[in-house]
């Protein structure tokens, strides 16, 4: 057991084992999942992100939103994702196949965002929440993003895009707070986040249990 070539072979094959099993096998099998074409709607699902939302995803990435927000819904009975309203069904691999970068996340300092677009569709709400999370979510520990907004002196007509800040957060009189294009795109991305389409496989995995029991958790 003390021969260099033998040790080296062992070192090689052990990692080759998991590389083949975890990476190669999956890449060759479900790495080739295709979108589903819905004949009745004449559309394929999942849909590609609209342009503005795709830009917003880059803002989501550069600000590091993933470190506090996951984007994956666990199945009913495993955790309470469904009961908290984070999604009507479990996330499935097909939901992600159009995404150049998959942002599943591993932390829920804040809530899961996979379906935030379905749960909170209001642009105004998102704008206020990003500008100062305390306005919409008192007591939160979420970081504020005031640098995604600009405070202008109002010249002539107030901007239609300006956000409507409630007291005591209002800007000085004669001033208005306007979202930058980055804020607009980030909100467009957040509004686009919803997995509502039912794929054939979601019928199989999504079975609402009558009463979640201990054994359910194991599956």
């Amino acid at each position: 057991m003390n021969r260099a070539p033998l040790i080296f072979l062992g070192i090689f094959f052990t990692l080759a084992f998991s590389w083949t099993g975890i990476i190669l096998t999956n890449q060759l099998t479900y790495g080739k999942l295709e979108p589903i074409v819905d004949q009745t709607e004449n559309k394929s699902y999942p849909e590609a992100l609209p342009g503005l939302a795709a830009q917003g995803k880059l803002v989501y990435q550069d600000l590091g939103c993933i470190y506090c927000h996951s984007q994956q819904v666990r199945r009913p009975g495993f955790g309470a994702d469904d009961k908290r309203g984070w999604g009507d069904r479990q996330s499935v691999p097909r939901d992600y196949i159009r995404e150049g970068r998959v942002l599943l996340g591993t932390m829920r300092t804040g809530p899961d965002l996979r379906n935030i677009g379905a749960r909170q569709a209001s642009r105004d709400w998102h704008m206020l929440h990003l500008y100062n999370p305390q306005i919409t979510s008192k007591g939160t520990i979420m970081a504020p993003f005031p640098f995604l907004f600009e405070t202008h002196k109002i010249v002539g007509q107030p901007s239609p895009k300006a956000i409507k800040l409630p007291a005591p957060y209002t800007a000085a009189s004669g001033y208005e707070v306007v979202p930058t294009p980055r804020a607009e795109s980030l909100v467009a991305y957040l509004q686009s986040l919803k997995d509502t389409y039912a794929y054939p496989e979601t019928h199989n995995v999504f079975v609402e249990p009558a009463a979640p029991t201990k054994a359910e958790g194991k599956k």
């Binding site: 990435q61 691999p93 591993t106």
Partner: protein, 497 residues
Amino acid sequence: MASVPNLVASFDPATSPDLVKRAELSEIDASTKIPALFFLGSAVLWLLVGTAFALISSFKLHTPNFLGDTEWLTFGRTRTAHLNAVIYGWSVNAAFAVAFWLMARLSRSVLRHSGLLMIAGAFWNIGVTIGIIGILAGDSTSIEWLEMPLYATPLLFVAYALIGAWALITFRFGKSGHIYVSQWYLLAALFWFPWLYSIAQIMLLFQPARGTVQALVNWWFAHNVLGLWFTPIGLAAVYYFLPKVLGKPIHSYYLSILGFWSLALFYNWAGVHHLIGGPVPAWVLSAGIAASFMMAIPVIVTGINHHMTMVGSFSALKYSPTLRFIVFGAVSYTLTSLIGSLMADRQVSEVVHFTHFTVAHAHQGMYAFFTMVMFGSIYYILPRILLKEWPSAMLISVHFWTVAVGITVYVVGLSICGIKQGLEMNNADIPFLSTTVPSVVTNTIPYLLSRSLSGVLMTIGHLAFAVNFTWMLLRPRAPQGTTPTLFQNPPEMEVAR
């Protein structure tokens, strides 16, 4: 030094019998001096940078408006800068220095081609600097453990390839016929890391895989960086320094073989347990969970080997700084690994996944185990390459106690926090956020404060370490033979640092 044995040395049973061997080791140590100093100096600088970002991030998590108006200091970026500075800056630089110092000593070979190492070191540190500036500027990839933008990573890969090539050359030129267990770990780590890194870079950044295959690649990489890169180097150091400082052989040679091969076989499948409950094939998760449980074998075997070597010599902990740090690290390795196996259980994961428990666990592995072992190794290596002693035993003592207490408060506090957080999150009757009734988010805040407190303690420790390190570099060498800096003088002379 050894060629002019002083009076103390000639009376000292630990040094007298084999002066030739000592002279050879001195020569090997001297050959490692410049590159080792370069890597260790870089490591200490990165440790301070990483600590600063850690403190900022920790404060932000309970006081979100702290530095909240500054884009490059937003939580998502400082937290990421912290991770990359302490992993690729501090830990990897320290690991390189310790790995090639050990490799040179164990191969009984003077360090050749130190120019190659210096070039590699320069590439590496420039790459990390560019990467972290890129993250702060908003170019993070948002792939955990691989956040550095594409314009930084090729530099890192080139640096790594040079170091790997160097290690193989040194090993080939070695005089020692026997391959000690530490060398197995080092060779394996040096081989595994570039494989993991290049696959992850290609399949996530250059030619991204489709859908959640990316998540599998991500966690195959990120968990294996811990298990197949940092862990082997940490264990190699423990296997070397524990017997070395105690002056007795490792408990069982047979167990060290078993420990090594079972780690190699099981660890590399374990990483996918980070995706339990996620949108990936269930069979991969099951395989990962099985492998995570099997990890109990190498952990227990290695634990027995280390701790049985220690049995009967606990009094040495009173004297030797190296030993104190290394033993703290070895005990943490056993604990954190067993907790890690438990966390892979589906029902445990249902609670602790997505919570601060994982954060506590990551710090127990990377800090309480790996970083403590690196501290211990540096306390041993530096006097031997500089031929001077640590200037202040008091600073070493401050360093040890602040970081030992700090990381303990950190891990215990956040572990409790995470379990609570997870149980509450899985109970939809408890609101996620509320200021009127207890909620998932607000209940974590006291623990987040305890984390900041522990962060302050660890910062004090790191500053003490950095001051001692710099002071040692700058102080003149004592003209005569020196005695090691110990916490207190042992009754007999045998205890090395």
